[in-house]
C-alpha cells in the first residue's frame, strides 16, 4: 500500500487465519509416514504465522508426489506439467508481485526434466520460495532412479543398481550465477524445517530449500542412519541464520557457526560426504532480483498495451489514399 491512510483503514480489519484456513477440503493422499506431510504442515504453519491471506498465496508444482501439495493447501494452486513449475511461478510473480509464491517440486521434477528451469530460476533470482522434496527416488511412478538416487540403488529402471554418482542439488545451486539463498533441512526435524522455511520466506530473492524427505514405501529406512544418529547431522547456526533452542542443542551437538555469506565454506559443507548439513548454507539479499529489474516504469494496463502497440503499428502503417486528407 502506498498511503498510510489505507494502511490504517486496512488495520481496522483484523485477520485471524488459523491453520485450518490453509487446509483444503481434500485430505492429503500421501502414504502414511511420508515426509511430505511434515513439509505441508510447516507451510501451513508459516502461512498462519505470517497471516498470509489465502487469496494472496499461490503454490505451484510440477509432477510427482511432492507436486500434489497445492491440492492440500487452501490457497491458489497450479499443478503444472512435469518440470515446468518454475516458469509458471515466474509468470505469476512478475504479473502479480503482491502474491507470495511457493514452488514445490521433487528430485525428479526439478533435477531431471526441469533442470534447465531450475538453473535459470536461480539466476533470475525472483522473489519466491522453492522447496525441493528430495526423497532420492521417483515415488509416484513406483520407484525409478532419480538424479539424486544413490549409486547402486536398485530400482525399476536400474535393476542392477544405479550406475552413476548422484547429483548434489546443493553444490549445483550454489554454483549458479546470482544464487541468493540456499538451505538444507530434513523433514524429520520439524522445528528446523519450519524455521528454515520462515527464513526463506523472508529472504528477498529466490530461496532454494532442499528438504531430505523420507519415502516409507520405496526408500524405507533410507535416511535411518541420519535420523538415528544426531551426530551425523551438522546444524549450521549463525546470528543471521538458525539459532537452536537449548533443548535442541542437547540432542544435536554437532553444530557449526557458519556465516551465510561465506560461499567457500558453503560449498565445502554442501559437499560433505557423510554428514548432512542442516541450516542456511548461503544467503545474500543484495543479489538483484529479475522481477525488480524488469519492473516497468508503468504497469502494463490493457490501455497502455493498446497504446504502445498502436504507436508501433502507426510507424509502419500505410493509410488508404482517401484517408490521407
Amino acid at each position: 500500500m502506498t498511503a498510510s491512510m489505507s494502511q490504517s483503514l486496512a488495520q481496522m480489519v483484523q485477520t485471524d487465519y488459523e491453520i485450518g484456513d490453509y487446509q483444503s477440503s481434500i485430505a492429503p493422499r500421501w502414504c502414511t509416514g511420508c515426509g511430505d506431510t511434515a513439509i505441508l504442515t510447516a507451510m501451513q504453519r508459516l502461512c498462519r504465522d505470517e497471516q498470509l491471506p489465502p487469496e494472496k498465496t499461490v503454490c505451484v508444482s510440477g509432477i510427482g508426489c511432492a507436486s500434489r501439495l497445492p491440492h492440500y493447501m487452501n490457497a491458489y494452486g497450479f499443478h503444472g506439467i512435469h518440470g515446468r513449475a518454475l516458469p509458471i511461478a515466474e509468470g505469476i510473480k512478475i504479473r502479480r508481485p503482491d502474491m507470495s509464491v511457493f514452488v514445490t517440486t521433487g528430485d525428479g521434477d526439478c533435477c531431471s526434466i526441469g533442470a534447465a528451469h531450475w538453473l535459470h530460476a536461480v539466476r533470475y533470482n525472483m522473489n519466491m520460495t522453492m522447496l525441493l522434496h528430495d526423497n532420492n527416488v521417483y515415488g509416484l511412478t513406483k520407484k525409478q532412479a532419480s538424479p539424486t538416487s544413490p549409486k547402486g540403488l536398485s530400482t525399476n529402471t536400474t535393476p542392477t543398481g544405479a550406475s552413476l554418482n548422484p547429483l548434489n542439488p546443493l553444490t549445483v545451486t550454489l554454483g549458479i550465477a546470482n544464487v541468493s539463498f540456499v538451505a538444507q533441512v530434513v523433514d524429520w526435524i520439524p522445528e528446523l524445517l519450519y524455521e528454515v522455511l520462515q527464513k526463506a520466506y523472508h529472504h528477498k530473492g529466490f530461496s532454494f530449500i532442499r528438504i531430505l524427505q523420507r519415502c516409507p514405501n520405496f526408500m524405507d529406512h533410507h535416511f535411518d542412519a541420519w535420523m538415528q544418529d544426531p551426530a551425523r547431522t551438522r546444524i549450521l547456526t549463525h546470528g543471521d541464520g538458525l539459532r537452536l533452542r537449548p533443548e535442541m542443542s542437547r540432542v544435536y551437538k554437532n553444530q557449526e557457526t557458519h556465516d551465510p555469506r561465506d560461499m567457500a565454506r558453503a560449498l565445502a559443507l554442501a559437499a560433505m560426504p557423510d554428514e548432512v548439513p542442516v541450516g542456511i548454507l548461503y544467503s545474500n539479499p543484495d543479489v538483484p532480483c529479475y522481477d525488480e529489474l524488469r519492473a516497468g516504469e508503468r504497469p502494463s494496463t490493457p490501455a497502455l498495451v493498446e497504446t504502445v502497440l498502436n504507436e508501433e503499428f502507426d510507424k509502419v502503417g500505410i493509410w488508404p489514399a482517401e484517408e490521407e486528407a
Partner: protein, 730 residues
C-alpha cells in the same frame, strides 16, 4: 598579469560621470573570452544527472573521454575548446538551443571557416566528441530570464518525476481493480453465452465448434461466487475516478481517450490565481484521494462497508495528509520583485505559511532600488535581501536564496528544494539590474554574493530538527570574514608590477550603480593621503562618525585605469547595515554566535573563580580504599540446574515438537492421539485407547517420538508382552 594601471584621473574633483567599476572587475573585462559558469546547460532529466551543469564542465568531461591527456590529444582539445568559445559567444549574443544542436552549428561554422570539406579531420573530430557528450539539454546564458528558466526547468523535472511515480501507483491500481472486475465478469452469464464465446474465438472460428453447446458445458462448470453488487459498484466508481483524474497527463501523447479531461495547469504568475485554483480543485482532490484509498483497500480485499463507509462519508479537506497531497502536482508561482504588486508578495508568504504545496520564485533584479513589500525610504538595499530571511521565520518552508552566478553551485540545494514535500521559496537575484547596464549580469550577481548584499543560503526543514542541520551558509566566499579579500595585480605609474589585497565590500558593489554615482567623488592621486582608508578598514573602526578619515574604493574606468573614489556616508551606512545583516546570518549559521560566545566567557570566568577559591591543602587522610582492596564479596555460585528431562510418571507422552504430521498415530485412534494448533501430535486422552494401541503407534512412528509409559489398565490382556515391546521406546 596586468589588471589595471594607475594614472591621474582626468575627472578628479568633479562628480563621477564615467561608468565606474571596482578594480577587482578588471580581469573580467570580456566574459565572452573567459571560460566561466555560463553558458549553463539545463540538463535533460535522467537518472543521476544534475539539474544544471556549466558548458565548460561538460566540455571538460567530454575531453577526458575523447582526447588523450598527452600531446596526441592536443589538436582535438584545441578544436573542441574553440567550438566551446563559439557556442559561448553565440549564447551571450542571445542565441539559445539544445547543446547538441548548437554544437552541430558551431562545428559546421568551424569546418567552413577552416576551408575544409565535411567529413574532413576537424569535422570528424568534433563529431566524435559530440557523440561522447555525457549530457544534453537547453543551453542558456546569464540574463534577466535566467532565474525563471532555471526554476521552471527544475520544477518541470520534479513534476516529471512526480508524474512517473503517480502513474506507476495509479496504473497499478487500475490494473488490479480491472483484474478483479474481469475475473468476476468471467463468471457471468454474459461471458459464457454462445455469442461471447464465438467473439472470443475471433475471426478464426470456422464453424467446427458449437458455441451453444460449449456455453452449456461451461455454464455447468463455472463457479457461482460472484462479487456482491455494492462491491462491484464501488470498484467501478473508483476505477472511473482513477482513470479520469485531471492532475497529470497520460504520459504518452497517443494515450488519450475521449473520457480524458485536459490536465490542470499548475504554473501561475500570481499567488491569488494559485490559491483560487487550489480551492477550486479541492473537490477533485478529495474524490481522487478517496477513490485511491478505496482502490488500495479493495486490492487487498480489506474494504468493509460497515467500518469504512462512515469514514469516507466524513472525509474532508482537513483530513488530507501531506502524503496524499504530495502525490499530486505542486503549484509554481513566479513573482518578480519590483514588478509584482507588494500585496502579491505578502500573499505568497501567507500561502507558504499555510503549508500549501506551492513553490514560489521571487526573482530580484534590483537590490538597491525600490522593492517590495515596502519601498525603502532611508535604507536602500535592505528590503529585498530580507525576503528570504523573512521566509525562514515561517519555519515549515524550504528557503533558498542565491544568485544566477551561484546557481550551479547550489544545484544540490535546488534539487532538495524541489524534493521537499511542502512549501518552498526560491529567492534568486538575476544580476540584470537596469541601472547597472555596464556590468554583465553574471559579474553583478556574483558580486552581490561577494559583497554580502545577497548572500547564498539554504534553510531546509527536512534536513533535521535543529538550526545547525537546517541552515547552511556554505555557498558564500570566505565565510569567516566580514568581506572577502582578493589579490589585485596591477602596474603602477612607473610600470612596476604591484600586488595588494583588496576587500570586496558593499561599497564596491554599489559603486557601479549610476543612481548612486552622486554619493561618490573621485580623488586625484596628488590628493591621496594617510587619511584615506579603504571602506573595509573604515567600517572596522568603532566610531560611526569618523570625521578624520575618508573611506575610498579602488575603481577602474572603462580604460582599466585605476583610481580611488571616496564614498559618502549614505553608502557607508548602507554597508554597515549590510554587514550587520551578514553577521546575523553568520550567527544563525553557528559562526560567532553571540549566545555561545557569551556562555563560553561566563564558563571561563566561573572556572577561573573556582580555581582561585580552591586553596591547595595537603590531605592527611588515607586514600579511600579502592574497590579492589575490599574483600571480595562471596558471590553465591549458582549450580547449573540439571537439564530438565521429562519426568516419567508412567503416563504415555509424545515429543510433540519433533512430530512430522505423518498421520500414523491419529489414524490408529484419533481420541487418544490428536494434533495441536501446529498440526503436531500429542496425547489427547491416555485413557481413550488401549495400551496396545499406544505401543503399536510407538512402533509405527517414523521418528520414534511416542513413549508409551506404563499400562493404565492392569486388566488389559497380554500386558507382559506389551510392556516388553514398549521398553524400547520408554
Amino acid at each position: 598579469m596586468q589588471h589595471g594601471r594607475i594614472t591621474p584621473n582626468p575627472t578628479a574633483r568633479e562628480p563621477v560621470s564615467v561608468p565606474l567599476r571596482p578594480a577587482l572587475y578588471a580581469r573580467f573585462g570580456d566574459l565572452a573570452e573567459l571560460r566561466h559558469d555560463y553558458p549553463l546547460v539545463l540538463v535533460d532529466r535522467a537518472e543521476g544527472a544534475p539539474l544544471l551543469r556549466p558548458l565548460s564542465r561538460i566540455i571538460d568531461d567530454t575531453l577526458k573521454l575523447v582526447a588523450p591527456a598527452d600531446l596526441t590529444g592536443e589538436s582535438l582539445r584545441q578544436q573542441v575548446l574553440r567550438l566551446e568559445a563559439d557556442i559561448r559567444r553565440k549564447v551571450m549574443a542571445g542565441e539559445e538551443g539544445r547543446l547538441s544542436d548548437l554544437w552541430r552549428e558551431a562545428a559546421a561554422g568551424i569546418v567552413a571557416g577552416e576551408g575544409q570539406a565535411p567529413f574532413g579531420e576537424v569535422d570528424n573530430n568534433l563529431e566524435t566528441a559530440r557523440k561522447k557528450l555525457p549530457l544534453d539539454g537547453i543551453v542558456i546564458g546569464c540574463d534577466a530570464a535566467t532565474p525563471d528558466k532555471v526554476l521552471c526547468h527544475a520544477w518541470n523535472a520534479k513534476q516529471a518525476d512526480k508524474a512517473r511515480r503517480f502513474r506507476k501507483i495509479v496504473d497499478g491500481l487500475i490494473l488490479r481493480l480491472s483484474d478483479i472486475l474481469k475475473s468476476d465478469h468471467m463468471k457471468s452469464d454474459e461471458a459464457h453465452d454462445a455469442d461471447a464465446l464465438a467473439a472470443a474465438m475471433g475471426t478464426t472460428a470456422d464453424g467446427t465448434i458449437d458455441f451453444s453447446v460449449l456455453s452449456d458445458v461451461l455454464h455447468r462448470a463455472r463457479p457461482e461466487d460472484r462479487l456482491p453488487e455494492d462491491r462491484v459498484a464501488r470498484i467501478e466508481h473508483a476505477l472511473r475516478v482513477l482513470k479520469e483524474q485531471p492532475f497529470f497527463a497520460p504520459g504518452r501523447a497517443s494515450d488519450r481517450g475521449p473520457e480524458r479531461r485536459d490536465p490542470y495547469s499548475y504554473s501561475f504568475d500570481n499567488c491569488s490565481d494559485a490559491l483560487e485554483a487550489y480551492r477550486d480543485r479541492l473537490p477533485d482532490v478529495l474524490e481522487f484521494t478517496k477513490a485511491m484509498t478505496v482502490a488500495e483497500l479493495e486490492m487487498e480485499n480489506k474494504y468493509r462497508p460497515e467500518l469504512h463507509d462512515p469514514i469516507f462519508e466524513r472525509f474532508e479537506t482537513s483530513d488530507l495528509s501531506p502524503e496524499q497531497i504530495g502525490l499530486l502536482p505542486s503549484a509554481l508561482v513566479c513573482l518578480r520583485d519590483g514588478e509584482t504588486m507588494s500585496a502579491e508578495i505578502a500573499r505568497s508568504y501567507e500561502a507558504l505559511a499555510c503549508g500549501l504545496p506551492i513553490t514560489v520564485l521571487i526573482q530580484v533584479d534590483d537590490l538597491l532600488g525600490p522593492t517590495s513589500p515596502e519601498p525603502p525610504q532611508n535604507s536602500f538595499g535592505a528590503g529585498t535581501a530580507r525576503l528570504a530571511a523573512m521566509a525562514m521565520g515561517l519555519n515549515n518552508a524550504f528557503v533558498l536564496q542565491t544568485t544566477s552566478a551561484h546557481l550551479h553551485r547550489m544545484n544540490d540545494a535546488l534539487e532538495r528544494g524541489m524534493r521537499y514535500e511542502g512549501p518552498a521559496l526560491f529567492c534568486l537575484y538575476s544580476g540584470a539590474t537596469p541601472s547597472m547596464p555596464d556590468v554583465a549580469p553574471y559579474i553583478l550577481s556574483a558580486a552581490a554574493t561577494e559583497a554580502r548584499a545577497f548572500p547564498s543560503f539554504v534553510y531546509d526543514p527536512a534536513a533535521g530538527e535543529d538550526w545547525a542541520s537546517r541552515f547552511d551558509l556554505a555557498g558564500n566566499p570566505q565565510i569567516a570574514q566580514d568581506w572577502p579579500e582578493h589579490r589585485l595585480l596591477f602596474e603602477d605609474s612607473d610600470g612596476q608590477r604591484m600586488e595588494k589585497a583588496i576587500a570586496f565590500t558593499f561599497a564596491d558593489f554599489v559603486i557601479c550603480d549610476r543612481r548612486y554615482a552622486r554619493f561618490c567623488h573621485a580623488v586625484e592621486r596628488s590628493e591621496w593621503s594617510e587619511e584615506m582608508i579603504p571602506v573595509s578598514e573604515w567600517l572596522r573602526s568603532t566610531s560611526k562618525q569618523d570625521e578624520r578619515h575618508v573611506p575610498y574604493v579602488s575603481v577602474i574606468d572603462p580604460g582599466d585605469r585605476m583610481f580611488r573614489v571616496g564614498v559618502d556616508g549614505k553608502i557607508t551606512e548602507a554597508a554597515r547595515r549590510c554587514i550587520d545583516g551578514w553577521k546575523r546570518l553568520l550567527e544563525m549559521g553557528g559562526i560567532n554566535n553571540s549566545h555561545v560566545i557569551r556562555a563560553l566567557a561566563e564558563d571561563r570566568l566561573r572556572r577561573e573563580d573556582e580555581a582561585r577559591n580552591v586553596a591547595p591543602t595537603e590531605t592527611t587522610e588515607p586514600p579511600a580504599p579502592s574497590a579492589a582492596s575490599e574483600p571480595a564479596q562471596a558471590v553465591p555460585v549458582v549450580a547449573e540446574a540439571p537439564a530438565a528431562e521429562p519426568v516419567s510418571d508412567g503416563a504415555p507422552w509424545i515429543e510433540t515438537p519433533r512430530c512430522t504430521t505423518c498421520n500414523e498415530c491419529v489414524q490408529t485412534n484419533d481420541a487418544l492421539f490428536a494434533y495441536n494448533d501446529d498440526m503436531q501430535a500429542y496425547i489427547a486422552d491416555p485413557d481413550a485407547g488401549t495400551y496396545r494401541q499406544i505401543v503399536e503407534a510407538a512402533e509405527g512412528c517414523q521418528v520414534s517420538i511416542i513413549h508409551p509409559g506404563q499400562p493404565r489398565n492392569p486388566d488389559e490382556p497380554n500386558l507382559e508382552e506389551l510392556i516388553e515391546r514398549a521398553a524400547a521406546f520408554n
